[in-house]
Symmetry: C2
Subunit: 229 residues, 2 copies
């Protein structure tokens, strides 16, 4: 291993909820876009989208730009995950990767650019990725599931208006466990993070549920005194 200054890169784990192929009725499972590496090391293997940091952009800017360039997406939530820097994580040169994670809405994810070298995968069924990217995704999943329980990031998966059932299905898909609809309703309403609208969602097969919107006076998550992205 050489002793030069490490190369610095930014990568992003991008999560979206999609219906599974096998069962269109399921509310969704977590998917993420990967890019195929077109040069060594790990040529041909799938990897997290990423790249170098521009001289006039912050780390978060670099992550957002990267997200836009590889998938044509913008995200409603972007947060730094971790900096990975063990000496042997890249075989050729020393690389330190600062990794972000992002949440995108399903409608955005639908029209996400997909190509020969960009493809979406189910987050819990990934192939063997380049570098330590399998570990990184695992950690991102852990953070997502943790943060789901004590913050309001679930809303980043939804559009402007949503029913409480849709919100509950986001929680259920991410946490992989069923939640009691009655109790879920009360818990969400007690946080005041959603506001009922006058509208109802028509066209369903049964009683039309009320539509809610997010209470903008709350942040999606409390990340303390960190400088705003």
């Amino acid at each position: 291993m050489n002793s030069q200054a490490p190369t610095l890169a930014v990568s992003t784990v991008i999560f979206a909820l999609r219906a599974t192929d096998s069962d269109e009725a399921t509310p969704g499972t977590l998917w993420l876009p990967l890019v195929r590496r077109i040069r060594e090391p790990f040529e041909g293997r799938w990897a997290l989208p990423g790249g170098p940091i521009g001289g006039d952009e912050s780390l978060a800017d670099a992550a957002a730009r990267n997200l836009l360039e590889t998938t044509s997406l913008t995200s409603r939530y972007l947060e730094q995950l971790y900096a990975f820097g063990t000496v042997d994580r890249s075989p050729s040169q020393r690389v330190v990767s600062i990794v972000y994670w992002a949440l995108v809405r399903p409608d955005e994810a639908e029209r996400a650019a997909e190509s020969e070298n960009v493809r979406w995968f189910a987050a819990d069924d990934l192939p063997s990725l380049a570098f330590d990217h399998n570990t990184i995704v695992e950690y991102a999943l852990w953070r997502l599931r943790n943060k789901m329980e004590y913050s309001r990031i679930a809303h980043a998966f939804l559009g402007e208006r949503f029913t409480l059932t849709q919100l509950r299905e986001v929680y259920e898909a991410v946490l992989r466990k069923p939640l009691d609809p009655a109790n879920f309703r009360r818990q969400i309403e007690s946080t005041k993070s959603v506001v009922a609208t006058d509208e109802r969602l028509a066209g369903g097969r049964h009683r039309p549920p009320r539509l809610y919107r997010y209470n903008e006076s709350f942040d999606l998550a409390d990340n303390g005194p960190l400088p705003v992205l």
Copy 2:
């Protein structure tokens, strides 16, 4: 601002509990060691200990080495805090700092090297530091106080044997609020993270309290599927 590749550095926020100067009876307040900058930018100002990353050491290794070099200390707890990388955080060149935070025991902190260019400060009463280091310390304090409430890191401030009152005083000092001794005792005991020993602490003015030790089958904190430091 140039557009060269950013320089990469590792810094560490090192916390220890010490009795305040004014009142020797208080259990302690948070202190941290800073180093005086001996060159521009910010020459003469106090800053977090830090430096470049060696070619054959991981990020955590670099933080631990730095801690040892500047204060002759080893820490019982070391965790990555955040990577700071806004473009304007250093006036001359672009620097991305990966910051760690560490907890050291009071007995270690006592014999920590102090010199003309290394001095300890009360964490909530710092001078104006170099770069964005005031912000970084604020964020580290926020993380410490948060993690105090849902993990067992308090033990990193204590020695092998301790009384439950000593442990409670650690919590009280960090969280800056009094805790009910009776309830605290039950809560700690219910987590099984401490084990009662046969010994008691003699020499006090009153009923000698039982000494406990940490239950080593627990980690100080659950940081998920992160590779071990």
